[in-house]
Assembly symmetry: C2
Homo-oligomer: 117 residues x 2
């Protein structure tokens, strides 16, 4: 079991990396199978260097890894990171549910909440 605390910076990088259509598309492709950077670049209407940078952003966020394969670099989507991101969103949803529980508690007591300073 990997606990792996995610720092705020880590989380920033993960969501930033996901906040771009091209990068999401790259991630999709590299989750389905390993692809070289140049193979990826063929799919987009931008320079090879631009695609390279997008891959670097994903790599920095650890959403993909790169592995040398001859003269190519095979890019592979990292499922673990996806799951960590999922857990982050789960956390938000739990907060929302906590609110509901609190409201239910108030209704049950019929008592106004004291100011929590």
């Amino acid at each position: 079991m990997v606990v792996s605390e995610l720092s705020d910076q880590d989380v920033n990088r993960i969501f930033r990396a996901l906040a771009d259509s091209t990068r999401r598309d790259i991630l999709r492709r590299t989750l389905v199978n390993d692809v070289s950077v140049s193979q990826l670049a063929d799919n987009y209407d931008m320079s090879f260097a631009a695609v390279q940078k997008h891959v670097a952003v994903l790599e920095d966020a650890r959403l993909v890894t790169k592995e040398p394969r001859g003269r190519e670099r095979m890019v592979r989507g990292n499922r673990d990171r996806i799951r960590q991101a999922q857990r982050l969103l789960d956390h938000f949803d739990e907060l929302w549910r906590a609110r509901i529980d609190r409201l239910d508690g108030l209704l049950a007591e019929g008592d106004p909440a004291p100011s929590d300073t």
Copy 2:
């Protein structure tokens, strides 16, 4: 049942909004209970206007809504949007699983895959 197609732009905005620690903190607070913009601003070491802008980014991504309350604007976290984001990440995980299924298929056949052009 809300289908609500999310455009690439929508998704960009959602993840971009989540890619900042201050905004995630604002989202957490507004999921737990409604808070005015000035109440939010008290928690951060930056100008009121800066916090206002962060709220605007979250609002633009529809992760929060603002409702007038006297002279204040109460900010409320939008759970539906969180769940939509969760579904987006689920989609990525499904792609990964599809890859595994494909590999399993190959193993079962013991047959090299033809180029899929």
